[in-house]
Symmetry: C2
Subunit: 456 residues, 2 copies
């Protein structure tokens, strides 16, 4: 897990602030949920692999004593001992809570719990860390931030349009010059498996199609055949792989491929609505692209599926999202359709770093440092300091009367652009010596000139 | 643990933003440390009671299996079984990490770990949640935010002056009209126990004195006597309880009380410097008060001690802090003196709520809602929406063409001040119908008039 230094924090805040501002501009309101949820709120929601990546929190006090000192532990060395059962049972005895694994499940729990206080459709955003006990590797961390915006309680496809615009707004504002918002629809994927006569095979078929770009057509066909598609069915699916051209051309080809699937055509209709509406509004830097091989989060998405990739830096998907017909059903609130997107702050950070997109102002820190020449001079500077701060200028006085070299090094290390020196002469004349650290230029100014110089 | 609704989050952000802005104005830079630290980084730092309040994180995978299925567990039911030893040993086998208990220890760990990358004196701030397995009660939560600012690597008392100013700045900016910054010094407390001839009794003496306001003089004397002070020693301490008057008067009385204690007089000198310097600069709404009974964090504070209380609301201390001569020694970096303060965001929230100090702008959400009359009208509104957002106006379109009443209720629930209606007429004329939700007034405007009306 990572410490964030001042320089890194400043850049991270630049990302979070940009995202937050756009979320608010689009009418989303912030919530926060606790770091720890009851264990049973999280378990069983992310599949077996997900479950194994959840961080569990140990019981405390008497309950922990009881869990540790209990007769069942005697069984641990008997020959007919069932290790897995023992393990599972003991984890649920030992751990009552678990750390947030994503923002979606706690959000669903929140909506159900507070349903009577919420104005639906509920447009909420949430920017908080989540934890996964993954093996750490480049671009994957055990603690990382998710930035989610969801609209829940509305079936309208206008929400999808708004979210596409929101992707465009945020990433353009962050300075990205070219990125693709890939668009697919779970109904199109259902249509495909229906058309080839194997609706029950939607998941293996989609998983195989998803690899087209990575492993090529031949390998995909091999995999489809291994996964149980007959030669006849394989032939039926081939036109799908030839779909190409502009979005409209893709939609036309897809329409004829899916002409006999009601659900498939519904997916095309939704996709066309999103495309047409977004096109009529225009996009800033984003390119909106239909991608029928896109298949993320298949477990719960039921309509539109989004994924965003940078066209300037190699870095997998930096954002994602989609529509789900039933997010809150697991917690007892049925028929709550929603659509949401998530910005991957850490990957966005890496892309921005690679492309040098952070503006200098993002990491600006103290603007003016007062050099400390001793007690009397420092006292004089404190007054000036106070006047600068009243003008919203970030300013500080070096606290010790250390050697000049040390104080200047501090200004350099902290990248402070202006240094002010006040000695006997300056105190007598009421003037200040101002050094511009970039140009090296040194001038004598009064306090109002100092304020205007800094604000230039 | 708590969920935070949009209204509450908006108010919390108002507090955090105000604190953050002042921290930056004073030259502090933000860091963040991970939620989880290695268990041994935290244990043994907060006393036995603190240790028992730490949330531990269960091992995962093979290590957990090994911890659970091990021969030692067989011992659990033998007659000579040592439950405490078993318990401690097993917790350290079962849990490798623990949740941040405060921001101070992780900060000390951070400074030692990154000492070569830090420009000292290091002025850092940190705003993050911490966790304590306390029994929840009013004003005390298991997950709560701390907002800390520390200067480490400088002995200068100017830092204390800056921190007093920072308390004043933040709490005045939050709208508090009267609050006291109580000031004491660990050296004064040492001096007191020295003067009565029992320097080794500093802690019991201080703990008793600390209760003066709560339990009265008689009970304090009883307690001091129970804690081992002789009649003679008790008599020696009595002048301390009669100290009163202005800060200067208090300091004078204290000086004569502590005249034979070198360390005590040093404490007075430091306190006088802080008082005089702060007085020459002036304070906004704060009252700076010497309080010789103040004794927080005695375990590691070595100089100035601060505590802030509201004079308008009953709520214990809302901020605290002090100087420590050696924060990083436990992690192997000696002689690193520092001074820091902490804002208790949750208590500040409660005080502000009680005193109705949150401005309306703090909870402002969407400024303009477009009513949805159907697909064609909605399409028209999307364009207007886009123009408002380009002017930084927070605006949204109700996503479904629901009944008017439902849409208006949504605007009311979300406290949206302006509602725009666009029907056939408006689409033809290029005008919009604007309803001011507070006055009820309805006008016909074009888009630029709409923008100026909202920005009024």
């Amino acid at each position: 897990m990572r410490d964030f230094s001042p320089q890194v924090m400043a850049k991270r805040n630049y990302i979070f602030d940009t995202i937050r501002r756009s979320f608010q501009l689009y009418g989303f309101e912030q919530i926060e949920t606790p770091t720890m949820e009851n264990r049973e709120t999280l378990t069983g929601k992310y599949g077996d692999e997900g479950d194994s990546l959840i961080f569990n929190v140990l019981q405390r006090g008497d309950k922990l004593s009881k869990a540790l000192v209990n007769p069942e532990l005697k069984a641990a060395n008997k020959s007919d001992f069932d290790e897995v059962a023992f393990f599972n049972k003991n984890v649920s005895n030992l751990a009552d809570m678990a750390l947030r694994y994503d923002l979606t499940v706690p959000f669903a729990r929140y909506v159900v719990q507070h349903q009577n206080d919420i104005a639906f459709p509920f447009k909420r955003y949430q920017i908080q860390p989540v934890w996964r006990a993954d093996r750490p590797q480049k671009g994957r961390y055990r603690e990382f931030y998710q930035c989610d915006a969801d609209i829940i309680g509305s079936d309208s496809i206008l929400n999808e349009v708004e979210l596409v615009k929101l992707f465009d707004e945020v990433l353009s504002n962050l300075g990205m010059k070219s990125f693709s918002i890939k668009l697919n629809n779970r109904k199109i994927l259902s249509g495909i498996s229906e058309v080839i006569g194997r609706p029950e095979k939607i998941i293996p078929i989609t998983v195989a199609i998803d690899k087209l770009e990575k492993i090529g057509l031949e390998k995909v066909n091999e995999e489809l055949s291994q996964r149980g598609l007959s030669a006849d069915e394989l032939e039926k699916i081939q036109p799908l792989f030839k779909i190409q051209g502009s979005n409209d051309e893709k939609l036309n080809q897809l329409s004829s491929f899916l002409k006999d699937s009601e659900i498939g055509l519904k997916g095309i209709e939704e996709t066309k609505f999103i495309l047409d509406t977004v096109n009529s509004l225009g996009l800033n830097k984003a390119i909106l692209e239909i991608d029928v091989t896109l298949a993320r989060g298949l477990d719960y998405y039921t309509g539109a599926i989004f994924e965003v990739v940078s066209n300037e830096a190699k870095m997998g998907s930096i954002c994602g999202g989609g529509r789900y017909a039933d997010l809150t059903g697991i917690f007892g609130l049925k028929n709550m359709s929603g659509v949401g997107i998530s910005f991957g702050a850490d990957r966005i950070y890496d892309v921005m770093e690679e492309l040098s997109l952070f503006p200098e102002s993002a990491t600006a820190t103290t603007q003016v440092l007062f050099i400390n020449f001793g007690e009397k001079e420092a006292g004089y500077c404190l007054n000036a300091l106070q006047q600068l701060r009243a003008e919203n200028i970030r300013a500080e006085l070096y606290p010790d009367a250390s050697k000049m070299k040390k104080q200047m090094k501090y200004a350099n290390d902290k990248k402070i652009p202006f240094v002010v020196m006040v000695g006997e002469d300056e105190m007598n004349s009421g003037q200040l010596s101002l050094k511009n650290m970039e140009s090296g230029e040194q001038t004598t100014v009064d306090i109002s000139k100092l304020i205007s110089s800094v604000n230039l």
